[in-house]
Structures are given as structure tokens and as C-alpha cells.
């Protein structure tokens, strides 16, 4: 049988098992084992477990559960609400300042927790009721929080980027830094949109009031004294210090990425114990349980995805697919467009973890051959996968918002996130036109020659 036919069968078998609803990890492992049995030497089946162990026994990959622990510790405390209130207190005078405060708080929280849904939940629980109380439309409020949450997988430390670094054999430190510029670009785009949208909604509310209608909460003004503003800071500064401290440990050369993950976990637990008195085993147990549930699920998918990729590579499926893409002689940007569209389509059904590990052996060689910087591509791919977090049918963040604000209709949430999906597409285009947004900072810190 030709490699192409085997590859086609492999793809169809994967789709069949996955869409049956079988857990992704077992579906990937199962299809890999079936193909090993049929097309590979018998001895290869004896080493199947060794392959999985050797791929998983990688300290960089195993830093993922520790980063998740840090995120869960911060996410399950009141840190999100405190952060949001403090930023709001300092920004409420700016037009649209409340919406912008939510975006800033999401970005900071995302950088501390590394999690999109946890960011949505933590900032949204305080932010959505506050925005609605101040007259923001429910779709605007929901859109801001859903989009702000997506910064979680772009700003370091990002689990998605750890996987990309492993799959693409790129420097994790460089990739983490490359996410910062585009992350700030998205924060800026989201904030500009929030200010414009605020002005539009304010104008409408003002018009209704002038015509003798009801006075919207939009038209109320809030005054906070400097003392009130300053009182908000003590609970927030330790977490911002944690964020900066972890970055210094990593980029100052004091700790490896895995040590940074361990250090971040310990410091996060220490801070919630000191600030929020969360230290009793009964309080820590839900944090550790949810961390283990999430990590175990992810690490099983990662382990089996690596086995899946190994079989694909052994049977020359990935090499042939990569060669076929190169042979299509697409122009550089057409190639990138096709690959990103593929990522968007996969994002409808698959979590980013599986997308990266399953597609990396196929899409990275043609991209490399076309002259793309893989660190830059990792950032672009992450933004595209972020869109998957807020667009239907999966759109995890949409369901998180529905969970914390059940009275907002799903339709309103979806309409609310659409402008932000547009802004993310715009960000991808800007980063394509000006790659330096992603590559400037890593080049500055590590030197361009280190690529």
C-alpha cells in the first residue's frame, strides 16, 4: 500500500474514533497502536509504552502541571476580583475606563495564571456585574471578558507555547518573550475598541435621556479619593510581584523553565495562604484536585499525541504530507494562509494541545522551507488558536461566561465576541506585516544570532 493511502486511512481512522466521542487520548493511542500492528514490525508494539514514557519524561513538558497549579491557586482565590477592583479604581476616569480596566485586569491575571477560562471566570465574576450595573450592554460586557481571557494562552507562561516549543524544538524562553509584544498589541486593540464602543453606547444612553427617557447608569459619575485608590493596592501588589519575580527568575538565568514552574507554584500557594488565609488542607484540596484532573487529562493527550506523531513519522506519513505541501509550490503567504485556515478548522473540534502535536510534523517543515521564523509562527498560531476559545462551536470561554452570567443569552455572548474575533484577525495581519512585534523582544534579550 502506498504511503498516501496509509496516510489517508490513518486520517480517516482518527476522525472516526475521535468523532465517536471516545476520549481524545485513547482515540489517538488506539489508532496509533492499530497502525503499528498492521504496518510496522511486530517488535515496535513491544516498545509502545517505552516510547510514551520517554516522550513524557521530559522535565519541560512536566512543568505544565506545575504551571497549572500556579494558575489554579491564583484562579480559585479572590485575587482576580481584587486585581480588577484596583485597576478599575485607577482607570475609571478614562472614557470607557471600566471596560479597559477589565481588559488590563484580564491581561495581568492571564499572565499570572496562564489560563484563559480561569481569567474569564475570575475577572468576569466581578467585572460583568459591575459593567452591567454601569449601563454597559450585556453583549459588550460579555465580549470584553471572553476576549480578555484569551490572552491567557498568549502571555507567558503559556501551556500552549510550552508544547509548541517542544514540538518545534524551539527555545521556550524565546517563545515566551515573543508572546509579549503581540499580547500587548491585542490589549491595545481591545482597549481602543472598548473606548469606541463605550462612546457609542454612552451617546445612545445620553440621547435617550435627553428625549425624556430613563437615565442610564452610563450617565452616572463616580469619584474615588486618592486614599480609596491607594487602599486597593496592598492585596494586588504581591501578585504583581509574583509575576515579575517569576519572569526575573526565568530570564535572569536563576532558574530553568521547570524550576520556574515549581517556584511559581510554591509562591502562589504561599501568597494565597498569607493574603487570603487559604492554607488548610480542606481549602487546598479543591485546588490540587482540579490541578491534577486538568493535568492528567492534558498529559494523557500529550503522551498519546506524541505516540500518534511517532507512528505518523515511522510510516513516513508526515514526511510525505509535508513534501506534498512543498510540492504544491504555493507562495509563502498562500502557504501560511492555508495552514492557518487548517488550524482554525481543527480549532472547531480539538483543543490546542492536540492541534499542535498532531500537525507540527506536517506543517512545520514546509513553513521552515518557506523561510518563516518558527518562533514567530508559534505566536501567530497561538493567536489563531485563541480565536477557537471564543468562536463557536467549542468556544470554551463563551461557556465560561454563560456559567458566570447565566442570564445573558448565548446569542448575545456570541454577538459580543464577534468584533473581538475580527480584532484578533487584524492582529494576525499586523504581525504578518510587522514580524518584529513578536521577534523584537526575544532578539533583544537573547540576540538574533541565537535563533
Amino acid at each position: 500500500m502506498s504511503v498516501g493511502a496509509i496516510g489517508l486511512l490513518y486520517g480517516l481512522g482518527t476522525l472516526l474514533l475521535m468523532f465517536s466521542g471516545m476520549p481524545i487520548a485513547f482515540a489517538l493511542g488506539g489508532i496509533a497502536v492499530i497502525f503499528m500492528f498492521i504496518f510496522m514490525p511486530g517488535a515496535s508494539l513491544d516498545t509502545v509504552t517505552l516510547n510514551v514514557y520517554e516522550e513524557m519524561a521530559n522535565i519541560t513538558l512536566l512543568s505544565i502541571p506545575l504551571f497549572i497549579l500556579k494558575g489554579a491557586a491564583i484562579g480559585k482565590s479572590r485575587a482576580g476580583a481584587d486585581l480588577y477592583l484596583a485597576i478599575h479604581a485607577w482607570m475609571h476616569k478614562i472614557p470607557g475606563g471600566l471596560g479597559i480596566a477589565n481588559i488590563f485586569a484580564s491581561a495581568l491575571f492571564a499572565a499570572m495564571s496562564g489560563s484563559s477560562p480561569a481569567t474569564c471566570s475570575a475577572i468576569g465574576s466581578a467585572g460583568i456585574p459591575e459593567m452591567r450595573a454601569r449601563g454597559y450592554s450585556q453583549r459588550f460586557a460579555a465580549g470584553i471578558i471572553a476576549a480578555g481571557g484569551t490572552l491567557g494562552i498568549l502571555l507567558p507562561p503559556s501551556v500552549v507555547m510550552i508544547l509548541f516549543a517542544v514540538a518545534a524544538e524551539q527555545s521556550l524562553g524565546r517563545l515566551f518573550l515573543a508572546g509579549i509584544g503581540p499580547g500587548l498589541l491585542l490589549v491595545a486593540l481591545f482597549s481602543i475598541y472598548a473606548a469606541f464602543r463605550y462612546k457609542k453606547e454612552y451617546k445612545e444612553a445620553h440621547g435617550i435621556w435627553q428625549d425624556g427617557g430613563a437615565k442610564s447608569a452610563y450617565l452616572d459619575t463616580t469619584e474615588l479619593t486618592l486614599a480609596e485608590k491607594t487602599r486597593m493596592l496592598p492585596r494586588v501588589l504581591p501578585f504583581v510581584t509574583l509575576l515579575i519575580g517569576v519572569m526575573i527568575a526565568l530570564y535572569g538565568g536563576y532558574a530553568t523553565p521547570s524550576e520556574t514552574a515549581g517556584l511559581g507554584g510554591v509562591l502562589a500557594l504561599f501568597l494565597i495562604a498569607i493574603i487570603y488565609k487559604v492554607w488548610r488542607p480542606s481549602q487546598l484540596s479543591p485546588i490540587l484536585t482540579s490541578t491534577l484532573k486538568e493535568s492528567t487529562m492534558l498529559m494523557f493527550i500529550i503522551g498519546m499525541s506524541l505516540l500518534y506523531s511517532y507512528v505518523m513519522s515511522y510510516l513516513h506519513i508526515s514526511q510525505s504530507a509535508a513534501e506534498a505541501i512543498v510540492a504544491m509550490s504555493l507562495s509563502k503567504w498562500a502557504l501560511l494562509t492555508v495552514i492557518l485556515l487548517l488550524v482554525v478548522m481543527l480549532g472547531f473540534f480539538l483543543p490546542p494541545v492536540s492541534i499542535i502535536l498532531m500537525t507540527a510534523p506536517i506543517i512545520l517543515p514546509p513553513l521552515k522551507a518557506a523561510g518563516f521564523d518558527l518562533i514567530w509562527f508559534g505566536v501567530v498560531m497561538t493567536i489563531v488558536m485563541e480565536m477557537g476559545l471564543i468562536h463557536p462551536p467549542v468556544g470554551l470561554n463563551i461557556f465560561v461566561i454563560k456559567n458566570i452570567a447565566p442570564d445573558i443569552p448565548l446569542k448575545e455572548i456570541i454577538w459580543g465576541v464577534i468584533p473581538f474575533v475580527g480584532l484578533m484577525i487584524l492582529a494576525v495581519l499586523v504581525i504578518c506585516l510587522i514580524p518584529g512585534i513578536a521577534t523584537w523582544l526575544p532578539d533583544l534579550v537573547f540576540g538574533a544570532a541565537g535563533k
Partner: protein, 185 residues
């Protein structure tokens, strides 16, 4: 990537029959899973402490360690595999449920049963191979290639135990599903 965030109602344990041998086995598995979960929590905290400690030892006491990465790998790989059964008991290994809405409730029950049987077949095969790997590593005294060179039967043993528990968990879920089908007829 929920990172510890769970939607309401997500992760609820499936209903279990109250009595009989199956009920006893499910209770036993539940206790084992909870004990394993507790040990895994400790392993995770230990890994955090070891990695943090190594940074302090290196910078404040000028005492670099050469074992912290391997020790952390053993603890974390062990915790992840050992928790596989607990996560399965909560149906926490995610799958694509996009087509579930297109099937009738009866067809969906058969679909879930097929998924469980297929998952069981894969996990049973994988478990069998982990036992072979453990046996070989133990008999032949395999160690890691580092200067510390700890025996490899330790992580392999945790992997084997975890996969065995996971396979048994899926088997119990299949029996529960069949028994529920029997009683609902």
C-alpha cells in the same frame, strides 16, 4: 485548557448501582482512587518543593543538585498516570461530543458503550505492555543514564499501576453501563 477551572456540573461522577458485587467493587475502586489522589497531591507538592529548593541550594548555598529534575519527573509522571483512573471515574478525559446531539438517547447509550469498550481495549493492551516493560526493567536492573542513575522500575511501576487502575476503572464503567441497561429495560 481549563487550568483548574471547571464548568458547573462538569466532572460529576456517574450514577452507581447501590448494591451487589458491582457496587462493592465500585466503592473499593472509589476508595483506591481517593487514596491515590491524595498521594498524587503530595507528589505534586513535593515536585514543586524540590524544584524550588534546587534554585535556593544553587544560589544561596552554592550546592548544585543533579537529581532534582529526575526526581521531579518520577513524581510527576507517577502522579499523572496514577490519577488516570480517578479522572476517568469523573469522565474527565475529554472527547469530541459534537455528534452526540444527532443521535437518539438509545443510540447515544450504545455509542458511549462503544467508546468505553474501545477505550478499554486500548488501555488493556497498553497496561499489558507496561507490565512487560516493568518486568524487563526490574529483572535487568535498568537505570537512567544520569550520574545519579536511579532504577527505572520506579517510574515504570507507577505507570503500570496507574494504567492497571485505569483499565479496571473503564471495565467497571462498562459493567455499570450494562447493568443500568439491564435494569432500565
Amino acid at each position: 485548557m481549563s487550568h483548574g477551572f471547571e464548568l458547573e456540573g462538569h466532572g460529576a461522577a456517574p450514577t452507581q448501582p447501590a448494591g451487589g458485587v458491582l457496587g462493592m467493587l465500585l466503592k473499593l475502586q472509589d476508595r483506591v482512587n481517593k487514596a491515590v489522589l491524595l498521594l498524587s497531591m503530595l507528589a505534586m507538592l513535593a515536585a514543586c518543593a524540590i524544584l524550588t529548593g534546587s534554585v535556593f541550594l544553587r544560589y544561596y548555598f552554592k550546592a548544585p543538585t543533579d537529581w532534582q529534575d529526575e526526581m521531579s519527573v518520577f513524581l510527576l509522571v507517577g502522579a499523572m498516570f496514577m490519577c488516570g483512573a480517578y479522572v476517568q471515574s469523573q469522565r474527565g478525559h475529554i472527547g469530541i461530543e459534537a455528534l452526540a446531539g444527532f443521535f437518539s438517547p438509545v443510540a447515544n447509550r450504545w455509542r458511549v458503550l462503544f467508546c468505553d469498550v474501545a477505550s478499554f481495549a486500548f488501555c488493556a493492551f497498553f497496561t499489558w505492555k507496561t507490565w512487560s516493560m516493568l518486568h524487563e526493567a526490574f529483572v535487568e536492573g535498568h537505570t537512567t543514564s544520569s550520574s545519579w542513575a536511579p532504577p527505572l522500575w520506579i517510574p515504570y511501576g507507577l505507570m503500570t499501576l496507574g494504567m492497571t487502575l485505569l483499565t479496571l476503572q473503564i471495565l467497571l464503567q462498562i459493567f455499570t453501563s450494562l447493568s443500568n441497561k439491564g435494569t432500565s429495560k
